[in-house]
Amino acid sequence: MKSPYPPVGTLSRRSASAAGAMILVGSVSAVPAAADEGGTDTLTVAMSQQVDTFNPFIAQLAVTTNILHHVYDRLVTVDPETNEPAPALAESWEASDDGLTWTFDLRDDAYFTDGEQLTADDVAWTLTTIMENEDASVASGNYVSAFEEVTAEDDTTVVIDLERPQATMTALNIPIVPQHVWEPVLEEEGDAFADYDNEDFPVVGSGPFVLAEHDRGQSIRLEANPDHWRGEPGFDELVFRYYTEQDAAVEALRNGEVSLVYELTDAQATSLEDVDDVEVNFADGKRFQAFTINPGAETRDGEEFGDGHPALSDKTLRQAIAMALDNDEIVERGHNGQAVAAGGYIPPRYEDFHWEPEGDEATLDFDPDAANEMLDEAGYETGDDGVRTSPDGDRLELRMHVHSDRPDNVQTGQIMEERLRDIGIEVDNQTVDPGILSDALYDAEYDLIFTGWTVNPDPDYVFSIHTCDGLPTEPGTMQGDAYFCNEEYDELYDAQFEEHEDRDQRAEHVHRMQEILYDEAVVNVLSYPNIMEAYRTDQISDIQLEPADGGNIWGQDGYWAFWSAEPAGEDARSGAGIPTGVLVGTGVVVLLLVVGGTLLAIRRRATAGDRE
């Protein structure tokens, strides 16, 4: 029987013409990214997180707080060379001998973008508002909790009186806002202040960039502030574009749509390494990756709760668990080599505060045989199935909660499962959604659980969460993340907190605290994952890393990267004279014509077939 349908050849011819159409469109509409008709140099950053609010008193999410860094200056920043506090709005600062009074001398050449000078009144008003207005304390309230009073002595002198000395005074990460703009806003909004989104563009700020446009869900545009006291930024514009899918953002970097992509996975970073005009930056990690062991959760009043494995309150068992794990293996197999094996709590990029166990201190190095021996001695007997039982008769079957959204953690979890098996511990690997993990942590319904923190140049906060004050007042309200409480640790914590004069002395305390954390084996740090980001060298010729050696671009504590970034020269860019719109238009029209034509042809051929 003869088929009335067109022979096979037609099909391939059809698809061939369709492909032809695509190529045709492409050849006319491929758009060079950085080139603009007006000659503006634009640095485009791919981002994925949404904007909560540009209200600097309220903003919580990383993208917004980072962008606000560039819009509002702070008193003190971080030196990219030394990682130490460096002048920003404050040219110099001084503490009284008792550490209770701090005087900041402001520079006299700082202006807001509406032309008004930035004075001590603006600083005092900003800080006082955060102290007194609960609504306005959401973003930065932690920094001012020990402030008693802030006064503007004259135009360039701010005096802060404290309730107790604190070493964190040079790490106040608070955006200073113009009083003349915000005072009326605060009055007008009243109780609804938290809902004020600060989107009256251009936003009046004092930083090196001006927030100029927010196209929700699509892009955020910042313009350079040519009159900034530190000097004009290299680029005229900074554009953040949404890429909800990171792999798509990587492709956008390849074709030049964006200049910078951050937070890459190691697979993405590796794939970009051989691409022309793309530089992959492997920076030292700011983050530590750890797992904590539930030592028996208690409230501050000593009320036990949760359902952690009872044997884990035994320090010997916890130490044996730590000794069963090889951090080098976790780096190699868990992070595919893109991390540094951990010793102490603070990553090595902060040289002064970093500590790692050396020589005799390194009691918990990888040594499964010694771990087995310790457990044998402590009365943990091995059963027929190779799993130990605690002296109280509880089988050592431990739940382990792992973040399912972090591939590195998932792989690390699998390694840990194997290694703990070697010392007679059975692991029930629960790789779960972050929400489930967080619920398990706060309800203390876990045995082993993954955690990790990004550490700032001033490490106070990541230590504060392990003080006894970090324990919950009632179940579910924990401030910390490990139900850890140790008196000696608390004393050291207070000592380092109040040590505002001698940085070396403070570092000494900080090292001792890490030693305690290490020895108690409740918080067990595994690795410091590298930061991976990539940028186009044909769009950005030069960019300042922080720290200068082995540092990162995105998420700096200062605004060095985007302020210093220089556009690549004209010749490096593949410019095109014809406006994009025309190109795009022609492409679309051609596509429509070709598709229409093809459809028509198919149709005609089909009816011809029917007629036979």
């Binding site: 067109p6 574009r241 956008a252």
Partner: protein
Amino acid sequence: MTSTPTATEEPAGAPREDAPAPGGGRARRVALYVLGRLTTAVVSLGAVIVAGFFLFRILPGDPVRAMTEGREVSLEQQEELRRQFGLDQPLWAQFLDYASGLLRLDLGVSFQYREPVADLILERLGPTLLLAGTGTLLAALLGLFLGARAGWRPGGRGDRVNTAVALFFWSVPTFWLGLLLIVLLASGRGFFPGLFPTSGMTGPDATGFEAVLSTAHHMVLPVVTMVAVIYAQYLMIMRSSLIDEKGADYLTTARAKGLRDALVRRRHAVPNALLPTVTLIFLNLGQVVSGVILVETVFSWPGLGYLFYSGLHVPDLGLVQGLFVLFAASVILMNLLADLVYPLLDPRVRP
């Protein structure tokens, strides 16, 4: 949710041969039918609202902790956020607040965007309707067109090729196909130049007509992805319903009149075979607003689908329950429309 109207559901329509003469009785039956459908729709919507509220409260995770994750915040700051979000209230109070807001068409406030959910939805509705509407329309046209051909000669080579291709794309994960298209046609690697933008809806700084063209250019890949994945269902429905019609007597009559084969198909068989597909199209129209979550996410399309996806992570309770009500309401509405339109198209199921 409402039941889907199908031919088998004819509400006691067939055995009513002794029905009273048309006139008042018929109008009453129609009114009753419409009223019945309306009641079902309203009850379904109410159930969805209640279920949605409590369902999302069961989601693991705490919005405040999720939003402040990795930030150096104190307990007091978290408490203040909880108060601002209204999460310090007991559950029943939150529900009353939510329900009374709904009566005023106030869907509540999103935690992470800090905006009224209704505003967010309105802002994103346009892009979603544009993308999903275009995609559904093209998929329906393509599917019906190919399905009619395939069903007319089942087992033929055209049928086998078309069905195989359609089912292949149907079973391909949307995410993967979208990324593949980006890699092949947008990244400018290998022998292909970067033909299309990787993502977004319009290019930067485009205005007026330029913006329209730019949007069209940005739409190509998402629409292709969407059409490729969903056109199979139209094709298969059309194909099977045409196969059902093929043996019908009226086609023999048409052929006896000497009509060309193409005409018999187009004028006689296809219109009848279209009926079951109407239901499908309406059902799909209902899902238009929610159904493109994956496509929107791959291509960073600023629509409702991605909004929902971003809300689930936190969980942004205000946002997800607002969207949930909207998605459910649109499905219910389209079902209702299908229920009401179907009798107009098919006299056999008229009340």
